[in-house]
């Protein structure tokens, strides 16, 4: 019996859903507008997509959603969080919540304390865990906060103190009291990791709503399936985990889109450019996963450091406005956006857009009336397309990690703009079903595990250190539900660290594999 999977992606504009079989073929798909309460959209997409499918064959359902991201951006339904840092006497010069936007600080950050604890780079304790101060802090938080975020210096290397702090908080506030521990959320960089952990804790309520909505929708259709949410890195968490780690889903939209596009094209290494009405987003997949950003990521104006896909966005889309200036042409950065369907010249509007240029230049057909473009000179078309080609060339160069050529997958409503020939690009591909690439990306997501820590290569040698990191990542992937027989290492990043004795090196390893059935 062939087993089926459901993938649902709730985007800012559309909610997509697909049913996929074991061979990765799309059996059914649907696309509808995202609803005010996204749960309604999920339920609707689900009922549409499974209408003609044998429900008994469905075993798993994956959801990718922008709920948590939107909650932060719109400061909606965020909970008040107590902030506990285990690092004193270090770190006292920068209090928790420093440099947060005022409005977000006011609505999220409750009481905070920096108590004795934390680790040195070499594993010694900065100070023993100050348990009494943690109990006092817990009492101060009682009735004032909905959750507590705990961060400890060097927790990515050793999180024993964070676990102990979690136990103490449970003793004081009850085993069900929501607590977020930083080692589960972010990487090296205490302040950024603390920020991410606070945001994570503030999203517990939102996440619970999403997961309940998802479960109810599944239950409503009599589907008894395993349910998962997709993370920023394109891998899965169980719905139960997602309630505790919602921050790890805020970048999953672009990731699902890129992974879905790549898999639909049957590729594992490619550039992906998603061209919409206003902007073009470019990312790169290596071994089927998006390359992650090395830079600090801002979420809602707060600097964080959790795993996010490396994306470059530029102001180039089907609705980008084209203007004549002297003998030259200026494209954008402003756009008519989704109004391109009424504002563009070809659609009877009065604004010259890149969709008009693309039509006259022979890249776009079947969208509006080309005869309305008689007033647009060939010279303007030539110059505007030259600008487009240069931008796309720059975008693909900036994303690539080396000079070798690779394929480029073009998706999105504005993908017609992408030229067929780009230096360093083997071919430009637009796969079937690319309109539901997001939901497809969710449906094919795998389980993963990762490790990020500092090694001293002088202690046991580089290979032994890397082996240990690979082993830890693999074990983490299996714990996350991956099939032990099919787990593979998907990324190894080594960053040598200056001034660190014994050849100090930061090692990040990630492993992933298909879900064990």
């Amino acid at each position: 019996m062939s087993r089926l999977k459901i993938g649902i992606d709730v985007g800012g504009t559309n909610t997509d859903a697909v049913v996929v079989d074991e061979d990765g073929e799309v059996i059914a798909s649907t696309k509808s507008a995202t609803t005010l309460d996204p749960s309604d959209g999920i339920a609707k997409a689900l009922s549409e997509v499974i209408a003609g499918v044998d429900k008994s064959k469905i075993t798993q359902a994956m959801l990718g959603t922008t709920h948590p991201a939107n909650a932060i951006i719109q400061r909606r339904n965020l909970q008040t969080v107590g902030v506990l840092r285990l690092a004193a006497p270090s770190s006292l010069a920068i209090r928790p919540g420093a440099a947060w936007p005022k409005d977000l600080h006011a609505s999220v950050i409750g009481p905070s304390a920096i108590v004795g604890g934390g680790y040195e780079y070499d594993g010694r304790e900065i100070a023993p865990l100050e348990e009494k101060a943690i109990r006092e802090f817990a009492q101060k938080c009682k009735g004032k906060v909905s959750a507590i975020a705990v961060s400890c210096a060097f927790a990515p290397a050793n999180y024993a103190q964070e676990l102990r702090a979690g136990e103490i908080l449970a003793e004081e506030l009850g085993a069900d009291f929501p607590v977020s521990l930083s080692h589960q959320v972010g990487q090296i960089g205490l302040l950024e990791r603390e920020n991410a952990t606070i945001l994570n804790a503030s999203l517990f309520g939102v996440a619970e709503g999403v997961v309940n909505g998802f479960h109810n929708a599944l239950k409503g259709h009599g589907l008894k399936v395993d349910s998962f949410l997709t993370q920023n890195d394109g891998t899965l968490m169980t719905a139960e985990e997602a309630v505790r780690l919602p921050i790890l889903t805020v970048g999953s939209g672009p990731t699902n889109s890129m992974r879905g596009a790549c898999a639909l094209a049957k590729l594992s290494d490619a550039l992906v450019i998603d061209v919409g009405g206003t902007s073009a987003d470019c990312g790169i997949l290596v071994d089927g996963f998006p390359r992650e950003s090395a830079a600090a990521i801002e979420v809602g104006g707060v600097r964080t450091n959790f795993r996010m896909p490396d994306l470059i966005s530029i102001g180039l889309g089907g609705g980008t406005i084209v203007r004549q200036e002297g003998n030259g042409v200026k494209c954008g950065p402003d756009s008519v956006g989704y109004k391109v369907i009424t504002e563009a010249l070809i659609n009877g509007g009065s604004t010259l857009t890149l969709s008009d240029i693309s039509t006259k230049g022979g890249r776009l057909s079947g969208f509006g009336d080309a005869s309305k473009l008689s007033g647009v000179s060939d010279e303007v078309v030539k110059q505007a397309l030259a600008w487009v080609d240069e931008q796309i060339q720059n975008l693909s160069d900036r994303m690539k990690a080396s000079r070798s050529t690779m394929p480029l997958i073009a998706v999105g409503g504005g993908s017609h703009l992408i030229p067929k020939k780009i230096n360093g690009i083997a071919e430009v591909i637009t796969p079937n079903h690319h309109a539901v690439a997001n939901a497809f990306g969710a449906a094919i997501a795998e389980a993963s595990g990762s490790v990020d820590r500092v090694y001293r290569y002088d202690d046991q040698g580089r290979e032994a250190c890397l082996d240990e990191a690979r082993k830890l990542a693999t074990e983490a992937a299996v714990r996350a539900g991956a099939d032990a027989k099919h787990v593979r290492i998907t990324a190894v990043i080594e960053v040598p660290m200056s001034y660190l004795p014994g050849q100090g090196c930061r090692v990040q390893v990630k492993a992933a594999g298909p879900l064990a059935s």
Partner: protein, 357 residues
């Protein structure tokens, strides 16, 4: 005298990033620290030596350790006030001002936080006006001023005051001490009188950093004529515009070393090589030196003029390679042996900016 405000702080951070020449540590954490210190203790005055008693004591303060460790073991405060107080008590004299050693990278800002807490002014001078990786690489070494006696401290109250026979030994002892102290520590060295600062220091470094940052900020806002104004102020020049086509990183002797290769924007036959040792040190074209240490090499993002640090350099970035002449105070006997290309192991001559053929 000028009062440093929170607005100046943004300009100073950008200036400090530029003067970090790709290294010097991310000023982001130091900036948060200064912000909190100003909130808690008030603003900081920047003064010139002429405003102070010539015989008054000036103490420096800086962070020493490893940037990655500092990102995890965030500054506390006592490691910096501790080194200043310890050295003052060793010398039996109270300081009249705090001085940065290194105006470039995060050490530009640390002295401001300390000065705010101690209620002292910051003297508008330093010993590098750029980032360098070692303690002895200062104009004070050239002037024969010892780094010793010096102090290092951690946030827990462990403090060492020690003396060394020369400034190279000062670097070695300080490095081995901080390894035990957690690699995120305060250091104070090169104690001297206001008169010595006036004679041997690089004058006006802090104001220069703010003014430089202010002009680069205008470039980033896209103001008309701002790039020319920025270059004119810094006496800087764009030497190369192109795309990064190769990046080789390695770690040797605790230093992040590497080479970045940039292909010219319009002439693919031209490439520039930039050599990295924590900072950007040498830029060559066809093996010929174009910009050489101690002159400053800065790689700016071609689009938004943001200085790119060595950690964030990446294949495909479009960049401008800019040279800034080092502070004029560097040009004195002994400079090349201390901070010229050969001091970093590059077998090539120093080419003073503007003299490349």
């Amino acid at each position: 005298m000028r009062e440093l405000t929170l607005d100046d702080l943004d300009d100073m951070v950008l200036g400090a990033t530029l003067l970090g020449t790709g290294g010097g540590g991310d000023p982001y954490i130091a900036r948060l620290m200064v912000r909190q210190a100003m909130e808690d203790f008030g603003t900081v005055k920047i003064v010139t030596p002429s405003e102070l008693d010539p015989d008054g004591l000036v103490l420096t303060v800086a962070v020493i350790g490893a940037p990655t460790v500092i990102s995890e073991k965030v500054p506390a405060g006592p490691e910096f006030t501790g080194v200043v107080n310890a050295l003052a008590s060793y010398l039996g004299k109270k300081p009249v001002a705090i001085m940065p050693i290194e105006v470039g990278g995060m050490n530009t800002l640390i002295p401001l936080a300390v000065a705010a807490e101690l209620g002292l002014p910051v003297i508008d001078a330093d010993s590098m006006r750029r980032a360098f990786p070692q303690i002895e690489m200062t104009v004070f070494t050239l002037a024969g001023i010892p780094a010793s006696p010096m102090s290092v401290a951690d946030e827990k109250g462990n403090v060492m005051v020690f003396e060394t026979t020369d400034n190279q030994m000062a670097e070695k002892l300080a490095r081995s001490a901080v390894m035990q102290l957690g690699l995120a520590n305060g250091i104070s060295c090169y104690s001297m009188t206001v008169r010595q600062v006036a004679e041997a220091g690089i004058q006006g470094s802090m104001s220069y950093c703010v003014e430089l940052g202010k002009r680069l900020m205008a470039v980033q806002r896209g103001e008309a004529g701002s790039f020319d104004e920025f270059l004119k102020f810094a006496e800087a020049k764009i030497y190369f515009s192109g795309k990064i086509i190769d990046l080789d990183r390695r770690t040797t002797d605790g230093f992040a070393k590497g080479t970045v290769v940039i292909e010219h924007m319009t002439d693919p036959n031209r490439t520039m090589h930039v050599e990295i040792q924590n900072e950007l040190l040498i830029a060559t074209e066809d093996g010929k030196p174009i910009i050489t240490t101690p002159d400053l090499i800065c790689i700016l993002d071609y689009e938004n003029a943001q200085p790119i640090t060595t950690e964030t350099l990446a294949y495909g970035q479009r960049v401008n390679v800019i040279g800034l002449p080092c502070a004029p105070e560097w040009h004195q006997p002994g400079m090349l042996e201390l901070v010229g290309p050969k001091a970093f192991g590059y077998d090539m001559p120093y080419v003073r900016m503007g003299e490349a053929k």
